[in-house]
Symmetry: C2
Subunit: 445 residues, 2 copies
Amino acid sequence: MNKPTPLSGFPELLPEHRAIEQQVIDTLRRVFELHGFAGIETRATEPLDQLLRKGETSKEVYVLRRLQAEAEGADSGMGLHFDLTVPFARYVLENAGKLEFPFRRYQIQKAWRGERPQEGRYREFTQADIDVVMKDDLPFHFDVEVARVMAEALSALPLPPMRLRVNNRKLIEGFYRGIGAPDPAAVITIIDKLDKLPAEQVATLLREAGLSGEQADQCLALATISSADTSFVDQVRALGVEHDLLETGLAELAAVIDGCSAVRSEQFEVEASLSLARGLDYYTGTVFEIYMVGYEFLKSVGGGGRYDALASDGKNTYPGVGISFGISRTLVPLISRGLLSSDRKVPSVVLVALADEESRPASDAVATALRGSGVPCEVAVSAQKFGKQIRYAERRGIPYVWFIGADGGHEVKDIRSGEQSTADPASWSPPESDLRPTVVRAENQ
Amino acid sequence: MNKPTPLSGFPELLPEHRAIEQQVIDTLRRVFELHGFAGIETRATEPLDQLLRKGETSKEVYVLRRLQAEAEGADSGMGLHFDLTVPFARYVLENAGKLEFPFRRYQIQKAWRGERPQEGRYREFTQADIDVVMKDDLPFHFDVEVARVMAEALSALPLPPMRLRVNNRKLIEGFYRGIGAPDPAAVITIIDKLDKLPAEQVATLLREAGLSGEQADQCLALATISSADTSFVDQVRALGVEHDLLETGLAELAAVIDGCSAVRSEQFEVEASLSLARGLDYYTGTVFEIYMVGYEFLKSVGGGGRYDALASDGKNTYPGVGISFGISRTLVPLISRGLLSSDRKVPSVVLVALADEESRPASDAVATALRGSGVPCEVAVSAQKFGKQIRYAERRGIPYVWFIGADGGHEVKDIRSGEQSTADPASWSPPESDLRPTVVRAENQ
């Protein structure tokens, strides 16, 4: 085989970078589980008709064909999932009789999209989703809960600060109804373009959709409102529009913003952002988007919301609320720019040196003792000069080298500081912080 | 959507069963890392020409096509990987300049094969691979190391005992050369059929391949030899065949069997098994197969060996040795037969009861305190009668319910024993064994 070249859109990580991703996944999982979310995995494939229900991504699906399928080129009728929501909805319906509701689940898995690769957008990517799903009726406090859980999880990551933008579909739809817009859904779609088009162009589109100049101005005025606290409520009221749905939406959005006060920090910003619409038509209340502060060019790195009918089998309806976070979308750009690194290429904390090939059993015994105390380690490959063995450790970022003297005495050397001391393999352990690779984050220039 | 039905060959687990799989994966990973193996993930896709190099599985590949690809039915030239060895070899070549050798890596990922689904054989499955790869020359002691590491990992799982069968290609090839077999490779292929065909039929095949009756008998005599210790060496010598390669193979196999003496237990058997050949042609020395004791009808649940040219780019050759273990192949049959279960459908250890909706902040505060001590928990969905809240916990297998009294006092009840006592949310924690779901294994009938 000639030296293969990387495949565009299918990022792969070196071991020292995979260690970062693994720590991120471990942290997310730990926080999700602390909040009672159960982990599941779904198969990689879904029936094509299910994958193609959502118009937006229909052209980006990878279709599967078995090589030995009889008819040349006959597809299997299956494709790779492009998100974790379609599979989750199917999983809930398929297993409804065996699940306990509310069903809090997290899912950290790969998904695939055939779109044009660019920084932060990949053809294969890993994402982490949390959702709470209920049968028939899902209390509103779960909207607050998923925001809090994701906030707590993301705040624990070694990443730049995140900003959670929150809005409410009832709020904006009620507002559009209150001003007498003929087709509120059309207005949502147009307002959603505000992050790509200048305000005047959006106003033109709104007028083309049948709104008066005054109505269009009201819509744009609403979209300019944002606040880190509940002061948005008064700003909306100042626009003088009245509608029951608007009131419900205002109360719900205020409850989410209020409910997030405890998770707000320098590492995690939360704001009511009334321009946020999210194009997808299945959201029915709260909507979320997550941005990485300083990396807004990556667009949203997560999002979600409430859907009053995540799934339905005719008899039962399953409302849900959830948030998704893009692991590849955030990590791969930071790693490839050198802004996120780790200090170790291997899990080993200790290299047990080898005096000569005959003493391999003695070195193996030290390694076994250390592993018994939970200390990852490896034994030197061959009995090279100790200087070479130390450089072996240095190249891998292994912080300690263990020596067995000719007299059978044990010494361990921290090769970062050069400090060396006698040690007992049965009881020695490094500081907690040395047990795992340290993830180092540099500031963006 | 109508109620969807499961897809044959694509097993999915309920949350309480996924918890078992997750614990298995965590345990494997912990042991692999204790031995200095670094985790990597490779993309799901490989170029078709690489996937089709191995004849055996060529017909079972899933080919990918982007739905929006211009030409109708044009494949992408990519397929889903059917194992983790082909992707790993490509990864080593692609990143050789950035990796440190010896490169110890583990990889726990899904793979896909379009073969006919049956118990233990799935179209989508998860496996765990460990390999050590070197540049140019890989010392033999790594053959012993990978066997030991996998033994230690599998012994720590809540599964039936495993049996590791070991043989050596040099041993059998040297033996076949020693008796003057015209085509030793052909003999290996025929001897590999011994687990499917009766001995006489295999003897016939050997004679058809050009062996004399006496040579065929010698081959069959070799294949009957097995031993849990190094006594196989004398049994082979008693057949009176001499060849340098045979001697090397005997010494290597004896070293692996000897080297495994410390990991041998009731939970893990190791035996030299001279009938083992493994059909794949890239093995060059040690070969391994793993069987689950009592479940031999599943065939091997793992395997591997040494390949002196895992990968080569013309300039450099990368020899390797590794073992693979089938996670889906072992877990899915045990779970679906009810022989492996867990006592909890959620990670929550505590359900914090809710006296009334007004006291939700107080219950939330208890949950926050418990999470601060690393105790997974959830707050009741609504202020139902306490009896109903306890039954909610019971149905999920949550062992503790936390009550806040009207006087503000805190009590925690172990709903398994009925024992209830006062507790402080800031300092209470359950016994270590309650922190995670318990995996329960029943004996096969």
